[in-house]
Structure formats: structure tokens, C-alpha cells
Amino acid sequence: MNWFEQIQFYMSFSFVQYALVVGVLISLCSSLLGVTLVLKRYSFIGDGLSHVAFGAMAVGTVLKLADYNLLVLPTTVIVAVVLLKSGSNTKVKGDAAIAMISVSSLAIGYLLMNVFSTSANVSGDVCSTLFGSTSILTITRDEMWLSVVLSILVMIAFVVYYNKIFAVTFDENFAKATGVKAERYNLLIAVAIAVVIVLGMNLVGSLLISALVIFPALAAMNLINHFKGVVVCSAVISVICSILGTFVSILYSTPVGATIVATDLVAYLICAIIGVVKRLR
């Protein structure tokens, strides 16, 4: 069998289709929001949130919740809102607060999973929560539908509020001064990113999800220097990388999350080199 036939063979399995659908949607959403987060200097919020989601998931495991998302999603959204508020507060240093919350969540999460271990393979559980499933077998039909619905909501919100998001990203004070409710759109961005991070955890794990947010945006900024172009280009790069990464992971049975992130890294490096060449000419 050549690789094309092999991919065709795997594509006939429903779990591979689920993984691909989820991968494309998540990478699309994360890249759209990633542009704003990177430009607003909020990349670290994505990182912090993914650790919080890990902590919440550990609590969910200990409580033996049937559906983790019922706990993980609201917790992450609430922390996102709190972090965003503290980021604009000069008294508590935003970055320090985030570092504190994220390491505490990691530590408490790991602690809980160890002390109240329910399965024989604790380190395996922890590993797959942090770095994503080792195989893509684990995404269920329900998880796929949840991802589809939430991703579409995030995308619709992004398109409808595109002009507002641009204004708030480029110059929040100007927007506020002319009477735009900037806080409202910051809140929207925070909630959307929390949703994307929780969804992305199933795919690439909590440690790697911030890569999906940051890499495509940074890669696109090397190639294009207007906002709409950067958003579109980053979405295209992200989707291509996630499809490529999934296929490579199937063909060489590598862990899917790490493979997608490695593909994103390669894409970033290629774009960075093109960017440097463009500037030299």
C-alpha cells in the first residue's frame, strides 16, 4: 500500500473522521483568536488557561464526573475573565498572577490525580491530559459534536465582531474614548479563547494547545502586514498544519498532538525564513 491508499483506508474509520473534523475546527478557531491574542500581548493567557483546564480536569477525574466538560469549561471561562480583569489592573501584576495560577493548577491537578488515583496508570492519564491522546482513537462522537457546535459559535462571533475586535486590538483607548464598549469585546475574546482551549485539550493536550494559538499567527505575520490578510493566512496555515499533522501521526503512529504542534513549528520556521528573505530584498 502506498501512503495515499493508506490514508484512504484510515479515512473510512469514523474515529479518524472525527479527529480530522475536530482538528480542522479547533485549529481554525485557535488561529483566528491567536492573531488578536498575540497582538494584544495576551499569548500567556492562553498558556495559563490551558494549565487551569488541566487542574479542572484532574478535579473532574477525582470526582468521577461522567462529563469533564461540565466542570472544565465553566472553570476555564471564569478564570479567563478573572485573568483579563487582573491584566488591566496595575496593582496585581498580570503576568505574575497568571504564572501563579497556572503552576498552582498544574501542581494541584497532578497531586489530586496521584492521591485519588482511580486507574492503574496514573502517569499515563496525566501524560495524555498534558500532551493529548497518544492515538486519535479517543475522540468520541459526542465530543466531536460539542466541538463542532462550539467552534461554529466561536467563528460566527469572530466574523460578526471582526471590526470591533480589530479596533479593540489595535487601540483600546481610542475605542473606549469614542464610546465603544471595549470591555465587552475583551470579555468576548476571553470567553472564546477559554472555549477553544478546553476543546483543543482533547486533541493536542493542555500543554500544547497554546502552540495552536501562537504559531499560526506568528507565522502569518512574517508573510503579510495587514490585519485581514494575517487572520486569513493564519487560519489557512493552521488548518493545513493540523491536517498534515494528523495524517503524519496516522502513517507513522506518532502522538497526534505533538505531531501537529511540530508541523506548526516547521510552518513557522519556513514563514520566518521567507520573511527574512523578503526584508533583505
Partner: protein, 230 residues
């Protein structure tokens, strides 16, 4: 009735006063410069006028057909903006944002307004260029065009000539003066006391010991001005 009237304002952050008992008014067509040392509260005053900070006490009233938020603002450049990937057109049209309310996209009316103000500021030819590749003077004209999209009545400028070379600075001051003569009210924060007394017609001086508000002729005779001259 004046555009903006400040009565016994006490301004500051989180209950800590920076300036107390501030009184001044801005009428339609005025050109007001706010001058003073660093830390004297120039930026706080500007932020209060922009409704970004609430006054601790006192009253700020708007009249003569101007509403709060009906202002164009030329902020100091932030770190975020210096390498921001945005075309000149994308930035200028965002000045119309408050006018579209809950509508998601700009209509022809806003696009026409954008084009008009870009031509007025001589930046229409750069519309597809990236903002970060423009010179300092060009960037300021782009932000001015954006501010004009937001209003045709009142412009607030926060140290607009910082980082511009002398020739561009003079051109910029002349541009502002021309806008003022077209009937736009100007409020400008500046370090440049000489430009202030040359171009403005009213001065608000915020100092540690002296707070002065009046016409520039009165200002030149005041103690506050002498403080600067030494």
C-alpha cells in the same frame, strides 16, 4: 453654553487626587493647549475628558450639541502599535466604529467618510500600505484621519509631536491649526511651550504651585508662564 465645562474638578486615580479644584471651559472653535511638568496631571485631565477616568469630585458638563464620547482622539503611540500588521485603510476606517453601533460591518456612508478624511490628511495614496512601514509624521496623519472619522467637532491630542523631527513637527502644527480654522475644536497636551503660545488661543497650565487657565495673552503675563521661562 460651552462644549465642555469643568467646575471644581478633583482628578486622580483610585481616590488619590492628582489635581484639585480645576476650572476651565472649552467653547466651539477653541484651540486649547494643556501644558505643565510631568506628573502635574496633564494625562489624567485628558483621560477624564475622554471618559476613561471618572473625576473624584466636581462636575464635567457637556453642552452646545456635543455629547460625551463625541470626540476624536490622537493617543500617544503604544508598544502594541509599533509593529502591528494593519493597513492604513483598516486603521482609519476603525475610527467610524462607534457610529455603526450593533451593526457588524461598515456601510457605504462610513467608507465614504473614511475616504474623505484620508484625502483630507493626504494619506489616501498609502491606503494599502502597512502602518508600521510609514514614517512618524505619516503615522500621525493616519491617526489624525482616524480621529476625524470619529468626529468633526472636537479633537484631543496627547503629545502628538513626540518623536517627530523639527520640520515634520512644524508641518504637523500647521495642519492642526488649519483644522482649527475649519472650525474643529482642538485640545492638545504638549511639552512644547513655545508652540503652545504660538498656535493655541487658550492655555491650561497645570503646575505644582500654579494652575492657570486663560487666553494666551493673559498667560504670557502670568506667574505660571514665568515659572517655565526661568
Amino acid at each position: 453654553m460651552s462644549y465642555i465645562k469643568a467646575t471644581d474638578l478633583t482628578l486622580g486615580y483610585e481616590g488619590k487626587a492628582v489635581i484639585e479644584n480645576l476650572n476651565f471651559e472649552v467653547n466651539a472653535g477653541d484651540y486649547l493647549c494643556i501644558v505643565g511638568e510631568n506628573g502635574a496631571g496633564k494625562s489624567t485631565t485628558m483621560k477624564t475628558l475622554l471618559n476613561l477616568v471618572k473625576p473624584i469630585s466636581g462636575e464635567l458638563t457637556y453642552g452646545d450639541g456635543i455629547k460625551p464620547y463625541e470626540v476624536g482622539y490622537l493617543p500617544q503611540q503604544t508598544v502594541v502599535q509599533r509593529d502591528f500588521p494593519a493597513s492604513v485603510y483598516e486603521i482609519v476606517i476603525s475610527g467610524n466604529l462607534a457610529k455603526i453601533g450593533m451593526r457588524p460591518f461598515y456601510s457605504k456612508k462610513e467608507r465614504d467618510n473614511t475616504k474623505l478624511n484620508m484625502k483630507r490628511m493626504n494619506v489616501w495614496e498609502f491606503r494599502n500600505k502597512s502602518y508600521k512601514n510609514l514614517s512618524g509624521g505619516q503615522q500621525q496623519r493616519v491617526l489624525l484621519a482616524r480621529a476625524l472619522c470619529a468626529t468633526s467637532k472636537l479633537l484631543l491630542l496627547d503629545e502628538p509631536v513626540t518623536g517627530l523631527d523639527p520640520k515634520v513637527t512644524i508641518e504637523f502644527y500647521q495642519l492642526i491649526k488649519a483644522l482649527n480654522e475649519e472650525g474643529i475644536t482642538i485640545i492638545m497636551i504638549t511639552h512644547d511651550i513655545h508652540a503652545a503660545v504660538e498656535y493655541a488661543d487658550k492655555i491650561l497650565h497645570l503646575g505644582q504651585n500654579n494652575v492657570f487657565f486663560g487666553t494666551k495673552e493673559e498667560y504670557k503675563l502670568s506667574d505660571a508662564y514665568k515659572e517655565f521661562e526661568v
